[in-house]
């Protein structure tokens, strides 16, 4: 069984500048693999090539060189098959919704376009109505929807069409926090976990990526700077993290017991300086348990994913080109 659902090898793409002979490089020899059922995030400044990447993978544009396989099909040689294995949804815009049809008609249209039988379409529309709260807007014409309603309608396609691969361009863009949360929930718990769909999404929000993405690729100026789990990326930059722990009971620990650099005691808490809080905490907990103490409070200060990226890109971002 295919384990790498999306494979990208040395993909390059450049665009010609308007009325000149110069070229802008959008992607330069990009390679990565996405495993089955994974949620793979692509982060990077605007203009880094994220959207180009998604467009190439969903067979909308052709790369200049390199190969890519979606669900085992080559994007150029088996374009039709590769295209039908994936579904591209662009968040926060008008794309993907016919302005004159109602939401329901739109969904039926896309369902039929993807070859779903009528009864399946009907069922899935019912599900989508429930999950995304579309009851009030399902029979409204798309042109009359407000921003949030429109985004929900576009995301409904995500629930309707369950191709093995789902490409998302900023799915929570322009969504209010509650709805954004809902979408992340649907992505991580329903689409990825239950349906087993492989998701490749772009995002600007570190929190989002850390919460639901299995692995993340950092794209900058057309190149992949790093591609790993958020945890590994954090470990890579070797910045120290600080834990402040409150313990009930008596616990004396030495730095090496918990894989820390330094341990300081104060009146009511223990301060631990370490390289990776995620390896310290489990050890701390088991030590505490072994000594009959209880951990009642933990506060962590560690670099955010954004700080990680800044480090990896090196110095000033050089974005906003």
């Amino acid at each position: 069984m295919l384990s790498d659902i999306v494979v990208v090898e040395n993909l390059s793409k450049r665009y010609r500048k308007e009325k000149s002979r110069e070229y802008i490089t959008a992607l330069k020899s990009v390679s990565f693999k996405v495993k089955r059922g994974e949620i793979f995030a692509i982060m990077g400044p605007n203009g880094a090539g994220k959207t180009t990447m998604l467009k190439i993978l969903s067979c909308v544009i052709r790369p200049d060189s390199g190969d890519a396989w979606v669900y085992g099909y080559h994007i150029i040689r088996d374009r039709a098959k590769a295209k039908s294995a994936s579904n591209l949804i662009i968040g926060g815009s008008w794309i993907g919704l016919h302005y004159a049809y109602t939401v329901r008609r739109n969904l039926i249209f896309f369902g039929k376009l993807f070859g779903l039988p009528d009864n399946v379409i009907g069922e899935r529309i019912k599900e989508a109505i429930e999950l995304l709260d579309l009851k009030d807007i399902i029979d409204k014409e798309a042109i009359f929807l407000s921003t949030g309603e429109r985004h929900r309608a576009i995301l409904a396609k995500m629930l309707l069409i369950r191709t093995p691969v789902l490409f998302l361009d900023e799915p929570t863009r322009s969504l209010d926090p509650v709805l954004a949360n809902k979408v992340r929930f649907l992505l991580s718990n329903l689409i990825s976990k239950e349906y087993g769909i492989t998701v490749v999404m772009t995002s600007h929000q570190a929190v989002e990526v850390e919460t639901i993405a299995d692995r993340v690729a950092l794209l900058n100026k057309g190149r992949i700077i790093a591609c790993d789990t958020p945890e590994n990326l954090r470990r890579r930059i070797n910045k120290l993290e600080k834990l402040v722990v409150r313990i009930k009971g008596n616990l004396r620990i030495k730095p090496q017991d918990v894989e820390a650099e330094d341990v300081k005691y104060s009146e009511d808490s223990i301060e631990i300086i370490c390289r990776d809080s995620e390896s310290v905490i489990p050890k701390l907990l088991s030590l505490a348990k072994a000594n009959g103490a209880r951990v009642v409070g933990i506060q962590v200060e560690r670099p955010s994913l954004e700080d990680v990226f800044k480090e990896l890109v090196g110095g000033s971002h050089g974005i906003n080109e």
Binding site: G37, N46, A100, D176, A180, N181, V296, I298
Partner: protein, 342 residues
């Protein structure tokens, strides 16, 4: 002096059906639209009695779920929409009675793609056009355009078209429209939507410094709670056409949350464990799975963080899960939002 006064504003939109464009009726949509408008087939109440005041030089933020009426409210203040009832005043000018005079004092920046400039003109030409529209002479407009391009930091791209700019630069171009006209009031819908984090930071920093320096009044909407916290002096929360809360970020946090948020990452946590966690004395739990269910990310909002943390650790460990991360932190505005709109 109050820069913007909104009193008891109501606005409703008529609902009317639209036929498919392929049909004969669809092509004659205008007939149907007229008929329905005359018949009045029901309305969507967008604003139901909104009142507030914004003082001069204040940065005011409006947040709320999509469909709450934020954009409608912005459009009413920006004279792009006439309310059904109520009174709106901008720097002392009644916007309904004197729309053109009011528009001279307002810069409206819509969200995203339609940020209010001409895509087929270069930046300089756009700014000159803005200047002309607000009453400058040709030479005045030209020199002001160059000046403002410097101020927003886009002078190198003066002869490029907006399509060549990055989104952050486009936002600054839209802001430039207001700078060149020196309008005292700015209305911006989602200032940093679609921008990457660095670009967003630049725009936010720019707004915070420039606007305060010039004493402009700004009303903006956003979905990024940290942006609201960072920029706004006061925040209004809207829901279904009404303002349900107004206050500074601190006031709102104090009012709504007397507790903290626990972020937890754990492995091997399954449904039964989640059920147990949910039954604890918490205000809200959000959970997300990663790695196909092997890892769970929990965000617990609770009034008794330390107790709950203890109990959560117990439950997880006793069910053979392992906790790899926990953090008790202060709630942010986003948590306030989630509580209000649960």
């Amino acid at each position: 002096m109050d820069a913007v006064v909104v009193e008891d504003v109501y606005k409703r939109y008529p609902k009317y059906k639209r036929y498919g464009p392929g049909t004969a009726l669809g092509r004659a949509h205008w007939v149907m639209a007229t008929l329905y408008r005359l018949k009045g087939r029901g309305y969507v109440e967008a604003l139901k009695g909104v009142s507030f005041k914004v003082s001069e030089g204040e940065i005011f933020c409006i947040i709320g779920p999509n469909g709450a009426g934020k954009t409608t409210l912005m459009k009413c203040i920006g004279v792009m929409l006439i309310p059904d009832k109520g009174y709106i005043e901008v720097v002392g000018i009644d916007v309904v009675k004197n729309p053109l005079r009011a528009k001279k004092k307002i810069t409206v920046v819509g969200s995203g793609y339609w940020a209010g400039f001409d895509w087929s003109l270069t930046l300089v030409e756009n700014l000159i056009l803005f200047g002309l529209m607000y009453g400058y002479s040709m030479s005045e407009a030209r020199s002001k355009a160059k000046e403002i391009l410097d101020v927003v930091g886009l002078s190198e791209k003066a002869n490029d078209r907006p399509s060549k700019l990055s989104s952050g630069e486009r936002q600054r171009l839209s802001l430039a429209r207001g700078f060149i006209a020196e309008t005292p009031v700015f209305l911006i819908d989602e200032p940093t939507v679609g921008l990457d984090p660095e670009g967003a930071k630049q725009v936010r920093g720019y707004i915070k410094s420039e606007f305060k320096k010039q004493g402009y009044t700004l009303i903006f909407t956003t979905h990024f709670m940290y942006e609201a916290e960072y920029l706004a002096d006061r925040i209004a929360i809207m829901d279904r056409g009404k303002i349900i809360e107004i206050g500074s970020p601190e006031e709102l946090k104090l009012k709504f949350i007397r507790g903290k948020v626990i972020d937890i990452k754990a492995l091997n946590v399954y449904k039964n464990v989640l059920e147990k966690l949910r039954s604890l004395d918490v205000i809200n739990i959000d959970y997300f799975y990663r790695f196909g269910g092997a890892e769970v990310n929990l965000k617990i909002l609770t009034k008794k963080p330390y107790e709950i943390l203890e109990e959560a650790i117990d439950i997880i460990l006793s069910h053979r899960g392992s906790l790899i991360y926990a953090d008790v932190r202060e709630p942010t505005l986003e948590d306030v939002y989630r509580i209000i709109f649960r």
